[in-house]
C-alpha cells in the first residue's frame, strides 16, 4: 500500500448478524438493556428462526458488501420450532464449504448459539467476531 496516506483510517467492517426471534434476538435485546458494550459494526437482522436462513442470504451478503456474517440461533434442544437450529447447523456446514468456491475466507462466517439470557455472551461474541474480521481485513468482494 502507498505510504503517502496521511491519515490511515482504521478499517471498519460491515458485519451482519442474523438473529433468531426467540433466543438470539432476545439475547441481543438483553445485551442492550444490560448496557453491554459491543462494536457498532454489527447490523442485526431479526429472523423468525435460524433454520429459515437460506445459504443464499449469507452468500449474497458476503458477496455484496458484508465483511462478515454471524448466524445466531437457540441452543440445540431449545428451538422454538423444535429443530430449526439443527437445520441451520446443517446449512452452516454447506455454507462453510461453499465460501472457498466464492474465494471468501471461512473465518468470515460463524454460526453461534445465543440464548435469551445470554446478553453479555452476545456482546462478547460480537466483539470477538468484529476483531477477527478487522484482522482479516475487507472482504475480497470490496474493491
Amino acid at each position: 500500500m502507498s505510504m503517502d496516506l496521511a491519515v490511515e483510517q482504521e478499517f471498519e467492517p460491515v458485519i451482519l448478524a442474523l438473529a433468531c426471534n426467540w433466543c438470539s434476538y432476545a439475547g441481543a435485546d438483553l445485551a442492550g438493556i444490560s448496557r453491554c458494550q459491543y462494536p457498532a459494526n454489527v447490523r442485526i437482522i431479526r429472523v423468525m428462526c435460524s433454520g429459515m436462513v437460506h445459504p443464499n442470504l449469507v452468500i449474497e451478503a458476503l458477496t455484496k458488501g458484508a465483511d462478515g456474517v454471524v448466524m445466531c440461533g437457540c441452543h440445540p434442544g431449545d428451538c422454538h420450532y423444535q429443530e430449526g437450529n439443527l437445520k441451520a447447523e446443517r446449512r452452516a456446514e454447506a455454507i462453510t464449504l461453499m465460501l472457498g468456491d466464492f474465494g471468501i475466507e471461512e473465518e468470515r462466517f460463524k454460526l453461534a448459539w445465543v440464548s435469551a439470557s445470554e446478553g453479555p455472551q452476545f456482546a462478547k461474541l460480537m466483539t470477538e467476531f468484529t476483531e477477527q474480521i478487522k484482522r482479516l481485513g475487507p472482504s475480497p468482494y470490496k474493491s
Binding site: N56, I59, R90, E93, A94, L97, M98
Partner: protein, 307 residues
Amino acid sequence: MAARLAEEWFAICGGCEVTILDIGEPLLDLLEKVQIVHMPVLMDHKLYGQTGEKAEMEIPEAEVGLISGGIRSDEHKLLAQEMRRKCKTLIALGSCACHGGIPALANLYSTQEMLTKVYRESVTTDKNGFPHEEIPALTDRVYAISEVVKVDMSLPGCPTTPEMVGGALTALLEGRPFTLSTKSVCDECPTIREKKATSTLKRRLEGPTFTPGAPLNQMRCLMEQGFLCNGPATRSGCGGSEGTPRCIRAYMPCEGCFGPISEKANPMVDMMGALSTIGLDPKQIPDRAATFNRFSGAGRLRPAPKR
C-alpha cells in the same frame, strides 16, 4: 407468405436440431408456414457465398432465427451478431444456447489449461502442438447467446422438448405470446416429500426404491432417498402438457438440464442449501460447482480463485 427461418449451430452436439425433427406430425403443419433459408445441418448454404466470393460472412434475412449451442470461438461470436442483425426474432434453442450447457463445464478452467490438458497431458493423446491454422480462435470462455447478443426467446433443455419447440414456433408465427414456466421441477414432481432424507447420499447406479407400475405419487422423493436430484434449482417445463418431469417419469433424478429458474440464481448455493436442509451431507458431493451447474456454466462457472 411463409415466414423465413434461419438456423445456426455453435458449440453443440446437434441434439436440439434432432428435436426439431422430433416434433413429429405437427412439424408438417409448421413446415408449411416457414421457409428455411439458412440451416447448416440441413442445407448447403455457404456463409461466404456459394463460390466463396464474399468477403464477409452473410446470413440471409429472416423473420425467425434459431441459434443452438454456446459461443466458444470468435467465429461463433461474429455469426451470432450476424444472426441478430438479420433475424427479427432470435431464439436461443437448447440449454447450450441459453446457459452454456455441457461445453460450459470447461469454464472451470482457463482456455490455456484446457488446451494443455486436451492436447498435451491427456494420457491417451500423443503430445501435440495446439491447433492454430485455419481455425477460428477460441474465446476466453463459453458464453451463452444472451451474453453476446439480445435474445428474444429462450427454449432451454438438453435437448429441449419437441413440444416446446413446436409450441414456441407456432405461437410465434401466430403472434401469440410464449412464456417459460417459472416453477421449479419439484413444484411439478408428484413424488412424496417429507423434508427428511431416509438415507445417506447414494450413487445413482444403486437405483431408487419404487414399485414398478405404481403411480409416481406413491414413490418417495428421489433426493430424500439419497440420490442427487437437481429438481429444487431447475426450471420446470420438461414434462410439457403431461406435467411430470421427464427424468422423474423414468424413475431418474432430475439432471437439471432446463437450467436455473431465474437468471440471477446460483444453482450451487440453492442445491447445497436444499440437500443440507433435508439432512444429506454436503461434504460428500465430489464436485459441487460442476455437479450443480452442469448445464448452466456460462457466466456461472469460472476457474477457482488462486490463493
